[in-house]
């Protein structure tokens, strides 16, 4: 009989776990939708800036702009985007493992880290990496100003000579079921190969140089914004998928326990009937 009670209690526990995971899945789905809308809205702006910049860069003397000049990369910086919270499957583990590989490839002592998201900071902070900057607690209310703040921090450290090369490692949102880890060369700015060069003769005001000077920071801001949005969407998608799996698993477990419960109950009833019958038979004799 005690067995029955134990099973009943376990079913109740798993029932409530299932409720929680299902709620988390729904929340993640809603957040994913918002993240996708944000990505959609950022696209025209990012695309235009990219086009214009790609149109201009071939004509510009790179050595006159600090953010465009290639210099020997002695110190490298890595910007790593993770989430603040867990329960999103292998979203953080995968990126942390890959980032660690890349960083160890250049040597721990040659790498400075900028961790965006709490998980990355906890991971690398504990392992003795040089984390020069970290951000957390902004994912819930993503603001464009967060992106500009991060971009500015990275840029000013780059300009001060603290590092000579900046890579961004983040989860790219492929589709709901898939995230891809991407590495992006953030600074110095490089031209994309597949850029479509627009052939228009523009008049530049105040001057071509000045326009580029004001365009590059804009570009860095919007790129950072894109990374945040991509990573955010990927995180919510990963959480949605893993919480869906958890909900299904909880359902399976409940089914199994219920079967066990019914069997135990049946066995108990049979025993009782047997006792009653054999008792009655004993009386007849």
């Amino acid at each position: 009989m005690a067995n029955l009670k134990v099973i009943r209690k376990r079913i109740g526990t798993i029932e409530s776990i299932k409720q929680v995971t299902r709620a988390m899945k729904l929340v993640a789905a809603a957040k994913l939708r918002r993240a996708q809308i944000n990505m959609e809205q950022a696209r025209p702006y990012a695309g235009r800036i990219n086009d214009v910049l790609n149109h201009l860069l071939p004509d510009i003397d790179r050595s006159t702009h600090d953010l465009l000049t290639m210099r020997p990369a002695k110190q490298k910086a890595f910007v790593i985007l993770t989430s603040d919270r867990g329960l999103c499957g292998s979203f953080n583990t995968n990126i942390l493992r890959q980032a660690e590989n890349i960083i160890d490839g250049v040597g721990k002592e040659n790498a400075k880290l900028i961790c965006i998201g709490r998980k990355g900071y906890e991971y690398f902070g504990k392992r003795g990496y040089d984390v020069v900057e970290h951000y957390a607690d902004f994912w819930n209310e993503l603001n464009f100003s967060d992106a500009t703040q991060m971009a500015r921090a990275v840029t000013s450290r780059y300009l001060s000579g603290e590092f000579d090369d900046v890579r961004v490692i983040f989860n790219e949102f492929k589709n709901v079921a898939q995230q891809k880890i991407a590495e992006y060369h953030y600074l110095p700015l490089v031209l994309e190969d597949d850029a479509e060069v627009v052939d228009t003769d523009y008049l530049f005001e105040p001057s071509k140089d000045e326009v580029v000077k004001s365009l590059v920071p804009r570009h860095l801001n919007i790129q950072m914004w894109r990374f945040l949005l991509e990573s955010n969407a990927a995180e919510q998608a990963a959480r949605m998928t893993s919480m869906e799996a958890a909900t299904n698993n909880a359902g399976d477990l409940i089914d199994r326990l219920r079967l066990e419960y019914n069997k135990a109950r049946q066995a108990a009833i049979t025993t009782e009937i047997l006792e009653v019958v054999s008792g009655a038979e004993a009386l007849v004799e």
């Binding site: 235009r48 008049l203 000045e210 326009v211 004001s214 919007i222 914004w225």
Partner: protein
């Protein structure tokens, strides 16, 4: 009826499609400039300021942050990091940002970067307040 051109104000978070307009005035880095239909194709850096759009007898203003204007044969695109139509400016937020930046400037003089940041924040919030309070 004068010739019109297509105007879009594009920010990282929103696109304001103004449709066909008669005139737009934008805050260029070297001072405000106006654009009518048939303008030379150009790219101009924009400073923090006010964008004015004239469509027929309707006039609209936006408080905008840094960016640039791309003028082509097909129309004008203003790409700015933020733009808020006059009625949509969050006065409370702008006032708070203004106060915060002011306080920051009064207190800290040691760090260049911080001061620059506060100055920029001050500039942006002042612009929002200015545009919002104009009649």
């Amino acid at each position: 009826m004068a010739a019109q051109f297509h105007l879009e104000i594009i920010t990282p978070t929103k696109v304001y499609d103004e449709g066909e307009v008669d005139y737009v005035r934008a805050p260029g880095a070297d001072g405000a400039f106006g654009v009518l239909a048939g303008h030379t194709e150009s790219i101009m850096a924009l400073a923090i300021g006010e964008i004015k759009v004239v469509k027929g007898s309707v006039e609209k203003t936006y408080a905008s942050a840094k960016g640039f204007a791309e003028i082509t044969r097909n129309g004008v695109q203003l790409l700015v990091e933020s733009a808020e139509p006059k009625g949509g400016i969050d006065l409370n937020r702008a006032q708070k940002a203004y106060d915060r930046a002011k306080e920051h400037l009064n207190r800290k003089k040691d760090e260049m970067e911080d001061e620059l940041r506060a100055l920029r924040a001050l500039e942006r919030s002042m612009n929002r307040l200015k545009v919002a309070e104009k009649k």
